[in-house]
């Protein structure tokens, strides 16, 4: 079937992408000025120590060999050991990344719950008060830094009102949700602003389309016209944008986790940078990039399902 071959082709496309991710991360660490060993040990490192670290990391061998070794160990799930935490990086990622994924999923859900109805209100009352109010509010939302919003929400709803915990992750799934709600809300704001803006424009474009007129001419109920004919078509471009925004969301998660002291991958990333724990930074960069490319894959599949013309 068409769809099946589309999925197969799309999965094959992942391979060069993954390879490229490895090359970039490899190049990043090895080709940029400043060598990792002295970065790790600081300015007052002894030459002997630098050499030892270089040898341990295999940095004294030719670049292509280094890359082959690097690629093979990554492929076998070996991302090296954390310098400060003395644990395998893979293990660290396995415990920390799910927290970040849960946070991101919650944020995405909240963003959609906000964006879709508001986009509808704004698009169907184009140019009127409600439209201006929604757009104005979201213009502000777009200019609001994540860490600032997080800090304010944390202070008001956490410290003052005590509706939510002021940080951490809690035990058990419900506690996790409770702990992650404020961070997710923080993270959701700018995404929902972006989605709202795009969906509003898409709805405006679709709402005067001939097939929507034709649907009305069939005597369908307005709700059916709106959901089946307007929203479904308008969502196609918004889904693409949603997928592309996942990187921004993960970027935001790095900061949000720092503000709310959530022990996720983002927090680990920042801590590792402070500690110059470069195997962890490298491993996390790879993991996050892989996560993003998997999200792109998922987005394409959802799009192919929404729009049969995509899978050709």
């Amino acid at each position: 079937m068409q769809l099946a071959s589309f999925i197969a082709r799309r999965i094959l496309q992942l391979i060069p992408t993954l390879l490229f991710i490895l090359i970039v991360v490899f190049a990043l660490v090895r080709l940029l000025p400043g060598d990792p060993a002295s970065a790790m040990l600081g300015d007052r490192a002894l030459d002997a120590d630098v050499e030892r670290i270089n040898r341990e990391l295999g940095l004294d061998r030719p670049l292509p060999v280094q890359f082959a070794v690097f690629a093979r160990s990554v492929a076998t799930g070996d991302l090296g050991d954390s310098i400060t935490l003395k644990l395998p990086v893979t293990e660290l990622i396995a415990t920390r990344l799910p927290i970040t994924i849960l946070l991101t999923l919650m944020a995405a859900l909240i963003a959609v719950v906000f964006a879709v109805p508001l986009a509808f209100v704004a698009a169907t009352r184009r140019g009127r008060m409600a439209d201006s109010a929604v757009r104005g509010a979201f213009q502000v939302g777009l200019s609001m830094p994540v860490f600032y919003l997080g800090l304010i929400l944390l202070t008001v709803f956490g410290a003052r009102l005590r509706w939510f915990p002021v940080g951490g992750y809690g035990d058990g799934f419900l506690e996790h949700l409770h702990h992650l709600f404020l961070p997710a809300l923080t993270l959701a704001l700018s995404l929902s602003a972006i989605l709202m803006r795009n969906l509003r424009a898409a709805i405006i474009e679709v709402i005067d389309a001939e097939y929507v007129q034709f649907a009305r001419a069939k005597g369908l109920r307005p709700r059916l016209v709106l959901l089946r004919h307007v929203l479904r078509n308008a969502l196609i471009s918004t889904v693409a944008l949603f997928g592309l925004s996942i990187g921004t969301l993960l970027s935001g998660a790095v900061i949000t986790e720092t503000v709310f002291a959530i022990p996720g991958a983002g927090r680990l990333m920042v801590d590792s940078i402070y500690a110059r724990d470069y195997p962890v930074v490298q491993g996390l960069t790879i993991a996050l990039a892989v996560l993003v490319s998997l999200t792109f894959l998922l987005t394409d599949l959802v799009q192919a399902w929404l729009d049969p013309r995509v899978a050709r």
Partner: protein, 277 residues
């Protein structure tokens, strides 16, 4: 049913452009001459006036070292507006040149470029930037380098798409017929007609740069304390949110206001350029 309304005699500037432009103009003036507006030295400690709430003497209060928050917010305009420009100008120029060449050449250059774009967008931008900063070390210059390594791609993508459209129009053929060199056709004839969307994106990008710069400042990877930078200030005040909210809240408002200035200007500019077409 074409719109047959008579063409407007004079271009009326859209309101977002006026408001946004005014905010930006004020931001630039304050950023260039902060000393004219700041009542105090932004780094002067005053142990006699620690953590004071906003008052006539200190409209935005003082921080835990007795520094005047208003003066620090004003002086931060210098750094943060600088971030907006410096972090974006290199990607803008470099990306425009690459994009113009790629869009004009097409073929394998375009295919290769497409792969690069695909790869770059798989890295969460901030993650990549802080990964680079972690290798190079914290600081503004390293942040500019990190942003530059990645940011040019977005401009190049916009310009390449525009140039591709322009290339097919008649006047490009006319240029070739006149025997102009490729470079002359690209940069004298095609680029001026292709650059407007990139300028609109530049506005958005400067707003994003301020968000990024202040985020890195907050994380301790951008501007270094005791510099007056909004992100740094918010980080300074984060432990006092319950008792002295003003240390963090006012710098944040400055970020929002400036970001609003850029995005309103971008929206207004887009509107003007759209109707002009």
């Amino acid at each position: 049913m074409s719109d047959t309304a008579a063409p407007r005699a004079r271009m009326i500037l859209p309101r977002p452009l006026i408001i946004g432009g005014a905010i930006l103009l004020a931001s630039v003036v304050v950023g260039l001459f902060p000393a004219l507006f700041a009542p105090f030295d932004p780094n002067a400690f005053d142990y006699g006036a620690l953590l004071q709430a906003p008052s006539w003497a200190h409209p935005m209060g003082t921080d835990n070292f007795g520094r005047d928050v208003l003066s620090r917010v004003i002086h931060a305009y210098t750094i943060d507006m600088q971030i907006a420009v410096f972090a974006t100008i290199v990607p803008f120029v470099f990306g425009t040149i690459i994009g113009a060449l790629v869009g004009y050449a097409g073929g394998w250059a375009e295919a290769l470029f497409g792969r690069i774009v695909d790869a770059v967008i798989t890295f969460p931008f901030l993650v990549l930037v802080i990964a680079i900063v972690s290798v190079l070390g914290p600081g503004l210059v390293n942040m500019y380098i990190a942003v530059g390594v990645v940011g040019w791609v977005f401009y190049a993508r916009i310009i390449a798409a525009e140039i591709k459209v322009q290339k097919r129009l008649d006047y490009a053929d006319a240029g070739r017929a006149m025997g102009y060199t490729h470079l002359r056709i690209i940069f004298r004839h095609l680029l001026p007609n292709a650059i407007t969307p990139a300028i609109v994106y530049w506005m958005t990008d400067m707003a994003l740069a301020i968000l990024l710069g202040s985020s890195l400042g907050y994380l301790g990877l951008g501007a270094q304390p005791p510099a007056a930078e909004w992100g740094v200030q918010i980080a300074d005040g984060k432990n006092f949110m319950a008792t002295a909210w003003w240390i963090s809240v006012f710098p944040g408002l400055a970020i929002v206001l400036t970001g609003l200035g850029f995005s309103l200007t971008g929206d207004g500019l887009a509107e003007v350029l759209r109707t002009k077409r």
